[in-house]
Amino acid sequence: MYTSLTNRRSFIKKMAALSAMTAAATMFPGIIFAAQQEEGLPKGGNLDWKKAPCRFCGVGCGVLVGIENGKAVAVKGDPNSTVNKGLCCVKGYHSVMAMYGKDRLTKPLVKKNGTYVETSMEEALDLIASKMQETIKDHGKDAVSIYGSGQWTIPDGYVASKLFKGCIGTNNVEANARLCMASAVTGFLTSFGIDEPMGCYEDIDHADVFVLWGNNMAEMHPVLFSRLLDQRLKRGVKIIDFATRTTRTSMAADKSIIFKPQTDLAVANAICYEIIKNGWVNKSFVEKHCNFSKGLTNMGYGLEDNYKFTDKPEKIDFEAYKAFLEDYSPEQVEKISGVSAKDIKYMAAYYGDPNKKVMSLWCMGMNQHTRGTWINNLVYNIHLLTGKISTPGNSPFSLTGQPSACGTVREVGTLTHKLPHGVVMNKEHREFAAKIWDVPVENIPAKPTYHTVEMFRALDRGDIRFMWIQVTNPMVTMPKLKRYREAAKKEGRFIVVSDIYPTPTTDIADVILPSAMWVEREGMYGNSERRTQYFEQMVEPPGEAMSDTWQLIEVAKRLGYEKQFYYKKETHIEEIYNEYRRHHDNKKHNLAPLEVLKANPGMQWPYVDGKPTQWRFNAKYDLACSNGEDFHFYGKPDGKAVIWQRPYEPAAEEPDQEYPYWLNTGRVVEHWHTGSMTRRIPVLHKAMPHAYVELNPKDAKRMQIKTGDKVRLTTRRGDIVLPASVNQRGVPEPMQVFVPFFDENMLINDITLDSFCPISKEPDYKKCAVKVEKA
C-alpha cells in the first residue's frame, strides 16, 4: 500500500506523542491530556513493537524495538517497565542504529602472513578448536583462556564457564566486569556474605535523601537520574553529589561536595564517627544483626606480577571500633580530604536522622579504587550503624555499568574463582556444578588461576598462550595498556576475537569471528537490581555473524564435548537457561521460569512462590529469611552483617614534584564504554567526536591553555597529546585532570597504572600521577 511522506511523518509524530503520553501516564497516574489531542492516535501501524532490555548500561531499561520489513528502525521506552517507566536516554534511543554501521563484521577473518583473509565460519571454528587442542597438548590446559564481558548474555557466559571450567578443566575464565564492579562484589561478600544489592530501583520512590558517592549519574545512568529529579519535583527530595570533580550531576544536585582523590575512605569513617558521637546508632538493629571485624592493612597495590593477598578477618567489638574511629573526627578528616567538617556533619546528619530515608548510590568512583572493597564496606557501615538498609527507601545501592555485569558475570560466575553457584575453592560447590554439567568433579580445579590484570600479565609472560576474547575491547580498556598490547602480539600467542565491528582488539587477533548483536539473537541480561530480562531474536544477523553462545557450542562440540553441549540450534537458549536455573534452585537466588521472563519486562530474583523479591534480608519481603527476626543477613553463617574497621590509606601513585597532577579517567553520556558501537552512530559521534583533557580553569590560565589547545600528559608509563577542554562539560579541581577513555585514537590507558584493590583485583582508573604541559 502506498503511503505518502506527509502521511507517514504525521503517523510517526502521532506515535511519538502516544509514547510520551504513555510514559507520562506511568509516571503521573491520573494525568489527563485534552481529549482532542488523544483523538486519532495510532494504535498499531506497520511497525511491530517487541520488548527487550536496552543493549547499553546496567540500568536495564525496558525498551520497545520497532521492527519494519526485517529491520529494527525505532526504539521507545517501555511504559510497562518499572525500571524506566517509558523513559529512554540518548544511547538507548539510538541503540538500533548501532546494529547498522557500514563496517559490520560479516565474515570470519583469519590472519595469514600478516593480512586478514576471509574464510567460512566452519573453517574458522575448526581452526580455533585445533589451536586450543594444540595449546593444551604443548603447554597444558591452563595455557588456554577466555576473556568475556558484562555484555555477554547469560547463555554466553554460562556455556563459556561450562566449557572452560567444567570440560577443559581450567579456571582461566574472566570478564571485563572485573574492571568495573569486582569491588562491589567483594564489598557485598565481605559485609553480607552474598552478592548484589538488597534493594531495588523502587527505593528511589521512597528515599528522602540521595547521596551519590563519586557517581556521575546524570551522564552514566541518565534515566535513573531522571527518576531522582522527578522525585525532587514531586516530593522535594535532596540530592547530594559527593565527588572529586564537578560534573553535570553536581550542577543538578542540591549540594555538591568535593573531596580529594582516595579520601572518601576517611570521610566515610568520619560520618560513622559522627553517627556514634551523636547517638544516632540504631542500637537494637546493630546488636541483633551486626558483627564488627577488622582485616589486614597496608596490603600493597598489586603492581608486581604474581602479587597475592589474602585478608585475615578478626572479630572486634563495638568499643574497639569506636576507639578506631577517634582518628576520624570531621575536623581531622577535613585536613586529609579537603571536605569541611561542616559538610561532613551535614551528610552525617541526614544518615543519622531517623526520620529520613537515605539511598547511597555509587558505581566506578568507589569500585575502581585501590581500596575498592574497603570503601564499599565503609558505606555499608553507615547504613548498618543506622539500620537504614533493606527497607523501602533505605538502600546502599551499587550501580553497574554493563547490561549483564550482574546477570552474567556475577550470577553465572564468569570469574576465575566463581561457579554459577558458589566458588571453585569449595568442594561441595564443585560437586554441585559438576553434577549439573555432567562432568567428573575432578575436572573443575580447586584453585583460581588469574584475575584479569594477571591474566594479561600471564599472556605477556607466556603462561597463557591462547585467549578467546568475546564482546569486549581490552586493547582500549586495560590499564597500562602498552604492556598488554605488546604481550598479545608476541610470538607463540593465539588470539581469537568475537565482535561486531573492527576495534583495536580485533587488530591483535589471529581469528576474528563476526558476532550477532543484541536482538539479532535470543538471550537474557541481568541488571543492577537483580532483574533478569529476556529478549527474543527480532532480526537476522548480517552475513555469517553468529551468536557468541553458538560459537562456543560449536567449538565445544569440535573439542569432543557433544554430551555436555547437547543443545539444539532451535531451542538452545531455552535449554541453557533451564539448565542454568538449576544452579540457583533455592530461596536465596531462584530465577523466574523462562515463560515468566517472556511475559514480563524482566523479573527480580529471588523469585519464590511465583513472586519476585524487592528487598532482600527483610523478613517482610524475603522468603529466604528464616531466623524469626525482622532481618536476616543469611549470606553469613550466623545471619549477621559485618561492620568493618577499614582505615584511610593513600593511593598507589600520588602526585609528586615530577608528576604533580592527578589523572582521572571515565566515560561520557554519548558513548558506550570504548565507543565501538556508539562512535558508529553519526549523531553520537558528531556530538562527541574525540577524547579531550579537562583542566581546571585556573591551571589552564596559568599554563595559557585554551579549549582546543594541545596538551601533553606524561606519566611513568608514557605520554599522550589531547585537546584541552576548559570550563566545558566537567570541571576538575586544581591540579587534577580528567580524560574520557572512549576514543581508540587517543588511548588514555596507554599511560594509566595497573594498580588494583588487593581484595577485588579491580584496577584503579581514577588515580595516578601525571605531568601536564602545553604541547
Binding site: 511522506l5 511519538a16 506523542a17 494525568i31 491530556f33 528502525v73 529512554c88 522527578d230 556530538a687
Partner: protein, 79 residues
C-alpha cells in the same frame, strides 16, 4: 529526519510561559497535560544537525526545569 518526543517539566508557575516559548520554536509541537505541570514536546527536524540545534534551543528556555526524552524515530528521507 528525526522525530522525537519528550516530557518537559516547567519551573513552578511557569507552565504557560514554557508552552509559549516552545510554541515560538519552529519544528516543535506541544501537548500540555490538563491537570499536571507537564508538557509533551514533539520535535520534527530535517536532519540530526537541526535536531541538535532545536534541542539546545529547548534546553536554553528559562522556564524549563527538566527535559526527558521518551522516544525517537529516525525516518529515512524516502520513506
Amino acid at each position: 529526519m528525526p522525530i522525537k518526543s519528550y516530557l518537559a517539566h516547567p519551573h513552578e508557575g511557569k507552565k504557560q510561559e514554557l508552552i509559549d516559548a516552545l510554541l515560538a520554536l519552529k519544528n516543535c509541537e506541544v501537548i500540555p497535560a490538563e491537570n499536571k505541570d507537564i508538557l509533551i514536546v514533539i520535535t520534527d527536524t530535517a536532519d540530526n544537525y537541526q535536531d541538535e540545534i532545536l534541542k539546545e534551543q529547548i534546553e536554553a528556555i528559562a522556564s524549563l526545569k527538566l527535559l526527558a526524552m521518551v522516544s525517537g524515530f529516525n525516518t529515512p528521507k524516502n520513506n
